[in-house]
Symmetry: C2
Subunit: 229 residues, 2 copies
Amino acid sequence: MKQPNKAAIKLKSRPHLDQVSELTTNRLSVYLRCLNQLEGAGVRTISSQALAEQFHLNAAQIRKDLAYFGEFGVRGVGYYVRDLKRHLRQILGLDRKLRVAIIGAGNLGLALADYPGFRQEGFEITALFDSLSAKVGQQSRGGVPIHDIHDLKKFVRRDAVSIAVIAVPAESAQRVVDLVVASGIKAVLNFSPGALEVPPGVKLKSVDLTVSLESLSFYLARGETDETG
Amino acid sequence: MKQPNKAAIKLKSRPHLDQVSELTTNRLSVYLRCLNQLEGAGVRTISSQALAEQFHLNAAQIRKDLAYFGEFGVRGVGYYVRDLKRHLRQILGLDRKLRVAIIGAGNLGLALADYPGFRQEGFEITALFDSLSAKVGQQSRGGVPIHDIHDLKKFVRRDAVSIAVIAVPAESAQRVVDLVVASGIKAVLNFSPGALEVPPGVKLKSVDLTVSLESLSFYLARGETDETG
């Protein structure tokens, strides 16, 4: 039996940035994570149905999300795990190395510097930056060096850093983001609480860990209401 | 002029758990964060319009989200900041202390134990748990004690812990979640990569930090496509 001609699977011309919601890209990330597990387990092909069942996802949603970018399924086979993984990495822009700087070498910054998930998908944490002279010159457990925040611009240019992660206290976060923007970085992942401003053309994504905890609190409060009332 | 009778503002009978999406509760958390800032700045009343403009939110969405739980606006005034804050805390179940245990006293667990946002909203991080005997008996910088994971059940009962945060490597995450569930905890916030299983009646929320970074990667890839093509 002939292998299908892989070159014949074409990516659709990329839809415009604004048309793809962050919820969609988040799901693509989740699919990629599942495919990594499948490939690790030696699985070569999978249907959207089996993918959904195995990872508690929605088969129709999977098909819809993927159809947005091209036709990846093969009739009677499903998806070739390795091919779909390659396509998803391409769609998510992971088919090249992305260099990341972490600003703030406190507990959180150090934890993020050594977070295994980042490296796994091809992100390279090039450096931590801090303003405390006692920290500058040290490194994370995993060996990420800590530089002086004043040298940020120099390192961003030298190492072609494209993403900054903000892990500083709320009171210095806006000042740090301004420095990051001035260094030429166009994508910022923020872990500080509170609203931050960036100019147009810079993408800011905030991760508020309290929000996650509060949605559990909401669930617990409702659960108790349901039980007692 | 008479103050409106605050007792007259009634919470709607709580809608059923399944009807309120996690996106809604996430937004309520964001509103609460904004109201905290406003109260700190001495602001006493605010309209949905002003709230939206100041924090880059959507005024219609704010009104819709709040209307789901009751009528909190006062004609010609907008919202009383302190009252709305109190209502949101009540809706989110933050009007009582919620005790949290963090499993895993590595970089991430230690960072989370001292994360200021948790404490601010009334969550109390009672303890870290780890299986490494070298860590047991130590504490985080902020003073959260590290206990032996084998004592989890005992401490969960003694301290009435209701939420567990999982900050262990992927390979031990499912084993740890099983321990957490066996200890009687009904809400789990997971920072480990990979899918975890919990029995019905236990709420699991996963925070995958790689997903956030990948949505920035997607944005950068698109941005470059838009510029060059």
